[in-house]
Amino acid sequence: MIDSAVVINEENTAEVRPDEVITLSRELKDEGFRFVTMSSAELEESICVLYHFDKDLELRNLKVDVPKGSKIGSIASVYSCAFLVENEIKEHFGVEFDGIPLDFQGMLYSDEEVQKTPFCNIGIKRV
């Protein structure tokens, strides 16, 4: 039986550097992993971004700490469907993804008058 509620630990999650994400995502894809989604949470100095993948229902995660207001490479070149959740995280947490094929400029959900990222307390202003 596979756990449907997986507590994040070192067995199922690899902590990686921002510049490793695209390479490691490509390796997971080559191994047959499906992209499930990404999650994010605000830490003191950074945003924790989690990438969730699964194969035969088994979950595997990549965890990256992205300094607030900084950039990370988009994995949409590996998993094209990632563009949507990357846009969501950009809008809600102010994480910039380099090379998103379809960039909503922080307006996937909200309109132009919303100037601050709602889920990130430092309230990064939109570019």
Binding site: M1, I2, D3, S4, A5, V6, V7, I8, R34, F35, V36, T37, S39, S40, A41, E42, L50, H52, L57, L59, N61, Y79, S80, C81, F83, L84, V85, L102, M107, L108, Y109, S110, D111, P118, F119
Partner: protein, 358 residues
Amino acid sequence: MAKTVLPFGPQHPVLPEPLHLTLTIEDEIVKEAIPKLGYVHRGLEKLAEIRDHNQMIYIVERVCGICSCLHALCYCQGIESLMGLEVPSRAKYLRTIWSEMHRIHSHLLWLGLFADAFGFESLFMQFWRIRERVMDLQEETAGNRVILSVNQVGGVRRDISAESAQWILDTLKTVEKETLQLKSTILDDYTVKLRTVGKGVLTKEKAYELGAAGPTLRASGIAQDMRQTGYAAYSELDFAPVVETDGDCYARTTVRFNEIFQAIDLIRQAFSKLPEGELAVKPKGLPTGEVVSRVEQPRGECLYYIRGAGKKFLERVRIRTPTFANIPPLLDMLPGCDLADVPVLILTIDPCISCTER
């Protein structure tokens, strides 16, 4: 012919919920589709910062009126994992029964809307008439028709008596018989086939690569269903994912239709094995750590990421709903289709914008 840009939604006669697509068409053929969300975005996840982890159960239930019970189940399951709670066996079976009731009424609701999209208003009423029976079961067992509020951290808040169980089984017999009577009307009808067979094909490879979920994934030949992980009481029940291989609108309709019968069978199995015992264990302490919890909602895999630091309030609750996962596959299906087929294609992913814009 010059390209035309056409806004589709958020208000459209065929859409039960406000999805907005910007379609680029050429000679009535869709060339590109760009989604725009946010019409009903509520930011419910943010409430985790000001509501404690028990209050969040009632908030996540309100993410969606169709699969409220499963949102709460997914959330509670995550909190239980963080707190190391073992849910009593009876509670696991009861969670399964309510989850499958949700699947039946959700699929009947969708089939009704789908029939209505073709102009089959009478068939729409027939599906919804059957659905009302399931809504009555939910009201009888949970006290509510839509937001069931039966889940709590550590188990369930309500029991189902032997008399109610018998009434449920009798009612499901009628639901099964009446749904079966409509099978040929929806699946063998010339017009329905004309509008669905070979339309909006999502290949097996694309479905997997684009992260499709639920019936949209299984209609493309991939036997993946989160219930296979065995959460709640599914590990003790006998079932296999309902799969079709054509990946078109007709295949997605067939999967949902057959999943109604599968859900009825699962409820029967669950009642036949329903153990006696406690309904819940009392949680101690506060959730600490990070967890990813997944369940199979009627529309597909739902994922909750929960992060707690042993405080009254959680640090983060993040919800990835199945419709969110099915938007990239939808964007892949639309280019090349006739403008007239767009409403049918959109409906066959069973979009729930209330979920997506939680």
